[in-house]
Every structure is written in structure tokens, then in C-alpha cells.
């Protein structure tokens, strides 16, 4: 845990201010989230997108494929089996990408702290930008989490994707520890591409 | 009365065609090969009689010129008789040949029934 390097401002990130301001504004207001309900919290997403809470007001829209998505929601506990799919989808997403973890299960395993097949601490395997607590947060909580993420993007703090790229070996090693048959399921060692 | 007269005049022709008809009946109906062969011979004989009777003129003798009394005027036409000679020879040859074939057929097919001997058909 200790040799985790602080995310330094990678060269991609520095760009001339004027243009940066507009892209920041655009990235903030149009978040396309990968329609991939990993855990029990996915049920909360439907009320947030339908008429009462309607996240499309905030410019958020679901997207079918990781290629078009910016945001990956880990809703609730994450079993090791789903971790394989999550890693693949996360690595297939294009670069300024963010991850939100729902509920306590992503923080410390939650009520499944001692179960053999769930991930105790999500942060070891993929970088998480925002945590939303609540054993499955209500739509209001989800919206507030999303708003918080938008502010983080606004002032350039949501840099999980840079941390992942710079400490890639570390993450990969953790993943290999938990996923015994890594190459057995022919998961590529290097970054997905 | 006239047709009786014609029959009398051409009695030989009627006889010859009668023989031919009988021969044809045998060939058409009988299934036994030997009987068919006999039918063919009957037809041959009928034709030969018809040929000979062609040259016959009523009341004239055979054209043998050795004795003086015979002149070409009062003798019948000898040429059909010459034709009949060859026809008879041919008839004999064909009958002999077909008999030998029939014997061989019998040895091979063990039957003389013509409707049984049809290995090659369609």
C-alpha cells in the first residue's frame, strides 16, 4: 500500500488554460456512464434516471459500450468473478475516465467483510474517484455523489485514471494476487491496449 | 358368278396366298421355336408356288425344245421357274442355319418358348 506514488501532473494534463476551461466545462456537464450494474446498487440507478430524479438534467446519459463511456459505477459488493469483467471494461474505456464506488462494501468489504469471494478494498484494484456511502444510497445520495464528482472534475482533482496508468504494475500485481488464474483466463498482462 | 370364275382362273395364286396366311398364323401365334420355323418354311413354300404359277399360261406345255413339236408360242414362261430354284436354295440354307441356332439356344436356355428367350430387351 505504501509504495503507491502520488499522481503527479502528467504531461497530458497540462494544456493551455483557455482551451482547458472549455473542455473542463464540457467534461463536467456531459458524463456518459457505462450501463453496467455490477452489484445490488444498480437498482438505485433506475429511479435516478427516470422522471422523478432525472439525471439527464445534469447531462448524464447511459452508454452501452466502454468506448463511449467516461464513468464506471461500482454499485455495491464486487465479487472476484465480476472484478475480471470490471477490469476489462475499465481498461477499454477512453482516457479521462472516473470510477464511483457505492456503499461501504467497496470501502472495506461492508457486511461481506469476511466472505471468501468478494473484494474487500476496491481501491487496490482500480482507482476510485468518489465513494457514496449508504447501504445502497438513495437516488438523492447518488445525485449528490455525481455532483461532487462534477466539482472534482471541474477543479482537476478527479485524476484516478492517471494514477492507474502511472502505478499500473502495482495495480496489476494486486489484481493477480486476488485473481489466481490470471493468464488462464487469457487476461493480457500489459495495459489492455 | 364372276368371282367364282376369277377364283378358278387364279386358283394357284389363291392357293399360294392361303399357304402364306397359314405360315404367318404359325409365326405370329405359336410360341414354340420349332413351330415358328415350320411356319417360316410354309411361307417359303407358298411364295415359291406363287412365283412358279406366275409364269403358267393355261393350256401350254413345258418349253423343252428337244422334241420339234414345242415352239416358243405354245410353251409357258420359264424365267420364274429359274427364280424359284434360287429361292428354294436360299430357303434351305436359312432353315438349316436357324435349326442349328435353335439347337444351340435350347442347350443354353433349356427352353424353346420364344417369350422366355428375351434376355436382351429395352
Amino acid at each position: 500500500m505504501d509504495d503507491l506514488k502520488r499522481p503527479t501532473l502528467d504531461s497530458d494534463f497540462t494544456c493551455d488554460m483557455a482551451f482547458n476551461k472549455i473542455t473542463k466545462w464540457a467534461q463536467k456537464n456531459s458524463l456518459w456512464l457505462l450501463a453496467y450494474g455490477t452489484g445490488c446498487g444498480a437498482i438505485e440507478l433506475s429511479p435516478t434516471m427516470t422522471s422523478r430524479y432525472d439525471w439527464s438534467r445534469l447531462g448524464i446519459r447511459g452508454s452501452a459500450t466502454p468506448r463511449q463511456a467516461d464513468l464506471l459505477l461500482i454499485t455495491g459488493y464486487l465479487s472476484t468473478k465480476t472484478l475480471k469483467r470490471v477490469i476489462r471494461s475499465y481498461e477499454q474505456m477512453q482516457d479521462p475516465k472516473y470510477v464511483i464506488g457505492f456503499g461501504s462494501c467497496t470501502i472495506n468489504g461492508g457486511m461481506y467483510y469476511d466472505s471468501y469471494n468478494t473484494i474487500k478494498q476496491l481501491d487496490l484494484y482500480i482507482p476510485v474517484d468518489v465513494y457514496i456511502n449508504g447501504c445502497m444510497p438513495r437516488p438523492e445520495a447518488v445525485l449528490s455523489g455525481l455532483a461532487y464528482l462534477k466539482d472534482k472534475i471541474g477543479d482537476k482533482k478527479a485524476d484516478g485514471w492517471i494514477k492507474y496508468k502511472q502505478n499500473f504494475e502495482w495495480y496489476r500485481e494486486n489484481q493477480k494476487k486476488i485473481l489466481k488464474s490470471f493468464n488462464g483466463d487469457n487476461m493480457p498482462d500489459k495495459y489492455n491496449w | 358368278m364372276s368371282w367364282v370364275e376369277t377364283v378358278y382362273n387364279y386358283s394357284y395364286f389363291v392357293g399360294a396366298f392361303g399357304l402364306i396366311m397359314i405360315g404367318l398364323y404359325a409365326v405370329m401365334v405359336k410360341t414354340n421355336l420349332i413351330k415358328i420355323l415350320i411356319g417360316i418354311n410354309l411361307i417359303d413354300v407358298g411364295v415359291n408356288i406363287f412365283l412358279v404359277s406366275l409364269g403358267y399360261i393355261k393350256g401350254k406345255g413345258a418349253p423343252i425344245f428337244s422334241n420339234a413339236s414345242v415352239t416358243p408360242a405354245n410353251s409357258i414362261d420359264p424365267i420364274p421357274q429359274a427364280l424359284v430354284l434360287t429361292a428354294i436354295v436360299i430357303g434351305v440354307a436359312v432353315t438349316a442355319l436357324s435349326l442349328s441356332v435353335i439347337i444351340k439356344l435350347y442347350q443354353h436356355y433349356k427352353t424353346l418358348d420364344i417369350s422366355k428367350i428375351r434376355e436382351m430387351r429395352w
Binding site: - | I20, L54, L83, S98, L105, E119, W122
Partner: protein, 495 residues
């Protein structure tokens, strides 16, 4: 004068009866006598051709025994007779070459009958006397009966029996016909008969015509009466079948039309009847050949079809049509020669039972003969540059000009049917899967040489256009001889 023409008949006769003596001296000498005889005949006929050209193409007659024509037997030799003579002797030479070691235990009797058959056919072609024609017909038939039965196995005996049964009926009809004609015109010389034929009362003339027509139709393999043809062709040894289909049929068709045109001065009603017969023979022959399994039987049916075509051509009664018919006769003789000899050679080498399926993929082992066989098939179908096409063009244009458009359509339809089963045959030969039964490749030169020579004649006829055009007016002269009755009479009775 050209009295040596009688040698054409005399020498084969003499050689035929010499063979038993020669056999006593040395057992395997008789094999070479047919070759000598046919070679002599072809030289003689070429000589006659030169003589004829020297006399600018007018036919001549040969008086036998010095009797002036209406009384004695005379031979009538013109372009048509010479074409048929050369055909007989050339194809006869090829077949006798082929038979040297085909019929294994061939006693001398086989060669004697072989020469008798050839002599009978030669006589048929050149005789000018009606009864003499009957005698030659009988000689051919009797030697044909015995040659068919030569193999002495079940099939050949059965075929020979059927042939004898129908053949004797045929001779009966011919004999009655000749008798009635003699009774009404008191003469047997063809030219003399046709001179007096108008005096004969209509019923008797018609009766004798129908009698002769039926008798000769049996010999000329026209439809209702050619039941014996497929069996005889299938069962008799191959050289004999080739003689039947290439030579004997041509001579009998010639006799059939000589009797109709010259003796009875046939008018249009007779010709239409004969054309109808020809069309039916063509259709039945081609259609029933479609489903045959045995090669020789298939070729037999195809020969019946071709006979039908020749009969249609000649009975179209225009000079182009008759010339086309004669040209088709020559073509058909050559093509059937190749086909029969070629396929027999293949079957013997595969020692198969004569089924088409036995020859599957034979082209890989016997490329030359299978190439020549397929070349002759393509020529037979009438693919343009080759001879079959020109003959068919002549026939079709004459039949069309005589107004029978439907018959032209039927002929074309029959050719398509012919193309179907012949190309299926080629497909079997060139099948790429390897041969099923055992194959011993015995290159026998005496088998390949005749086929190659036949193939060369096809190429000769098709590729050399000058030769074709000069050849065309020879054909037209021959056609004229057949149809022009008055010139026939003037030549025979005039001198």
C-alpha cells in the same frame, strides 16, 4: 470397256472359298486374306473413279456374259456406286486390320463369312438387276445371321434367332414384290422395269411397291421393323457390329431408295410416307438411347437415329437433300467406326462387361483412344468446323426448303438429345476418380491404327475447304444419279 469391274465381286467369292484350303496349309494365314481382298477392292474402286473422271463423270454399265442389257444382268457404276464401294472397301480394310487378333479362336469360317458379307454388300451396290439384288441381299443376310451367332453364347444366339426370324420375313416380302413386278412387266432389269412401270395398273404397282418397301425397310432398319437391330449390334463381335452399322446399313438404304426412285418412280405421297418413317426412327432411336447402360446398345440406338436422319435427308427429294444424305452416310460410317472400335478396345483392356460405368476414368490410362473417341463424338454432334456440321447444314436447308419446318425442329431436338447422352459418356471417360477394375495396358497397334486413320479422314474432310467444294459437286452428281430416272434408263438401255 471396263469389264474388270466384275472382279469386285468375283475375287472376294474366289478368296472366300480358297480360305479353307489355305487353312489346311497353314493355320494362321487366313487372317491376312480379308486384308488383301479389301485392299484389292479399294484399289480397284479408285481405278474406276479415275476412269470415271476421265469420261467426265458419266456413269457406265458392265454387261455380264455379253448379254445386251434388258436380257442379261448388268452392273451400273456411277459416282454414287463408287462412293459406296470406296466406303465399303476402306472401312472393310480398317475392320479386317482390327480383327487380326481380336477374335481369338477365329477359325477360317469366320474370315470366309466376313468376305462373303463384304462381297454381298458390294454386289448390292452395283447390280442393275432386281432379282440379282435379291440374291445379294440374301447372301448378306445369311452371312450376317451366322456372323451374329459366331460367339455361340446365350446373347448372340438369341440375337441371331431374332434376326433370322425377321430377316426371312423380309426376304419373303421382297420375293413377293419382285414376283408381282415380273408378272406385270415381264422383265427384271431395273431400267427396263422403270421404262414400262407406267403401263402397270395402279393397284398392282402400289401392291408391289408396298411389299418391296416393307422388305427393304426391315433391312434398312426403319422404325417399326428394326426390333432386331439393338440385340444384333449388342451381341455380335465388335468387328461385325462395325460392319453392320458402317457398311451394311448404308448399302441397304441405297437399295431401298434405288428401288423407290428408279423402279417405281416414287412420287410425293410415297416420299412423305418415307419421311414420316424417317422422323419416327430418328426420334425413337435418339430418345431410347438416353437411358442405356450397355455401350454397344447405346451406339446401336444412336445408329438407328442416324439412319432415320439419312432417310429424312434423302426422302426430301431435292438434290441438296440427297447429297446431304450421302455425305451423312459417309460421316456416320467413319464416326461409328471410331466409336465401335475405340470403345471395344477400351473394354477389352479393362476386361469389363461392356457397361458404360466400367469405363469410368479410362482417359487417364488410354489418352489417345479416348481423345479420338471424344473428338469423333464432338464431330458427330455437328460442332461447326468439323464435317458433321456441313452435312447437317445441307440436310436442314433442304428439309426446310421442302417446307417441313416442324421436321427441322424435330431434327434439332433429336441432336440435343444426342448431345445429352454422348456428353454423359464423355463425362464418364474423363472422370477424374481413378479406375475401379484392373487395367492391363496392352498397346496393340492394329487397334489404334484404324482409329487414327479414321480420325485423319475427319480432319481431312473438315479442314480442307477446296477439297470440300470439289467434293460437294461429286456429291451432287451422285445425288443426280439416284433421282434422275431418265438418265439411268438412257445409259443402261441406250448403248
Amino acid at each position: 470397256m471396263v469389264d474388270y469391274a466384275i472382279l469386285l465381286i468375283a475375287l472376294p467369292l474366289f478368296a472366300a472359298f480358297l480360305i479353307p484350303l489355305v487353312a489346311m496349309v497353314n493355320k494362321n494365314w487366313p487372317k491376312y486374306i480379308p486384308i488383301l481382298v479389301t485392299a484389292f477392292n479399294s484399289v480397284l474402286s479408285i481405278n474406276l473413279l479415275l476412269y470415271l473422271n476421265a469420261h467426265n463423270g458419266t456413269p457406265f454399265i458392265v454387261k455380264i456374259g455379253g448379254f445386251i442389257p434388258p436380257f442379261g444382268i448388268n452392273l451400273f457404276i456411277g459416282y454414287l456406286a463408287i462412293i459406296l464401294l470406296m466406303l465399303i472397301s476402306f472401312v472393310g480394310l480398317m475392320i479386317s486390320l482390327y480383327t487380326i487378333n481380336t477374335v481369338k479362336d477365329a477359325e477360317s469360317r469366320y474370315y470366309m463369312l466376313f468376305i462373303l458379307l463384304l462381297m454381298g454388300v458390294t454386289g448390292l451396290v452395283i447390280t442393275g438387276d432386281l432379282f440379282n439384288m435379291f440374291v445379294f441381299l440374301e447372301i448378306t443376310s445369311i452371312s450376317a445371321y451366322s456372323l451374329t451367332a459366331y460367339k455361340r453364347d446365350g446373347l448372340s444366339l438369341e440375337a441371331s434367332m431374332k434376326y433370322i426370324l425377321i430377316g426371312s420375313l423380309a426376304s419373303v416380302f421382297v420375293l413377293i414384290g419382285i414376283g408381282v413386278i415380273y408378272y406385270s412387266t415381264h422383265t427384271l432389269n431395273i431400267a427396263d422395269i422403270s421404262n414400262h412401270i407406267n403401263t402397270v395398273p395402279k393397284y398392282i404397282k402400289m401392291f408391289s411397291l408396298s411389299m418391296l418397301l416393307i422388305g427393304l425397310a426391315i433391312e434398312a432398319e426403319l422404325f417399326p421393323v428394326n426390333g432386331w437391330v439393338p440385340d444384333v449390334y449388342q451381341a455380335s463381335p465388335t468387328p461385325v457390329t462395325t460392319i453392320f452399322s458402317s457398311i451394311v446399313v448404308k448399302a441397304t438404304i441405297y437399295v431401298f431408295f434405288r428401288v423407290l426412285f428408279t423402279v417405281f418412280r416414287a412420287d410425293l405421297t410415297v416420299m412423305n410416307f418415307v419421311m414420316g418413317l424417317g422422323v419416327i426412327t430418328l426420334l425413337i432411336g435418339e430418345i431410347s438411347a438416353l437411358k442405356q447402360v450397355n455401350i454397344k446398345r447405346m451406339l446401336a440406338y444412336s445408329s438407328i437415329g442416324q439412319v432415320g436422319l439419312i432417310v429424312i435427308a434423302i426422302s426430301s427429294y431435292s438434290s441438296m437433300g440427297v447429297a446431304g444424305g450421302i455425305y451423312q452416310m459417309i460421316n456416320h460410317a467413319i464416326f461409328k467406326g471410331i466409336l465401335f472400335l475405340g470403345t471395344a478396345y477400351m473394354i477389352t483392356s479393362v476386361s469389363g462387361t461392356g457397361k458404360i460405368s466400367d469405363l469410368k476414368g479410362i482417359a487417364q490410362k488410354m489418352p489417345i483412344s479416348s481423345f479420338i473417341v471424344s473428338f469423333s463424338i464432338i464431330a458427330l454432334l455437328g460442332v461447326p468446323p468439323l464435317t458433321g456440321f456441313w452435312a447437317k447444314m445441307m440436310i436442314l436447308s433442304s428439309v426446310m426448303s421442302s417446307g417441313h419446318q416442324i421436321i427441322v425442329a424435330l431434327i434439332l431436338f433429336a441432336t440435343v438429345v444426342e448431345a445429352v447422352y454422348y456428353l454423359k459418356f464423355i463425362a464418364v471417360i474423363y472422370d477424374s476418380s481413378e479406375i475401379t477394375n484392373s487395367f492391363k495396358s496392352t498397346i496393340k497397334f492394329n487397334k489404334i491404327v484404324p482409329i487414327v486413320l479414321f480420325a485423319l479422314t475427319i480432319i481431312l474432310f473438315s479442314v480442307v475447304p477446296q477439297f470440300l467444294v470439289k467434293f460437294q459437286d461429286v456429291l451432287l452428281k451422285a445425288a443426280n444419279e439416284l433421282t434422275n430416272v431418265s438418265s439411268y434408263i438412257s445409259i443402261v438401255l441406250g448403248s
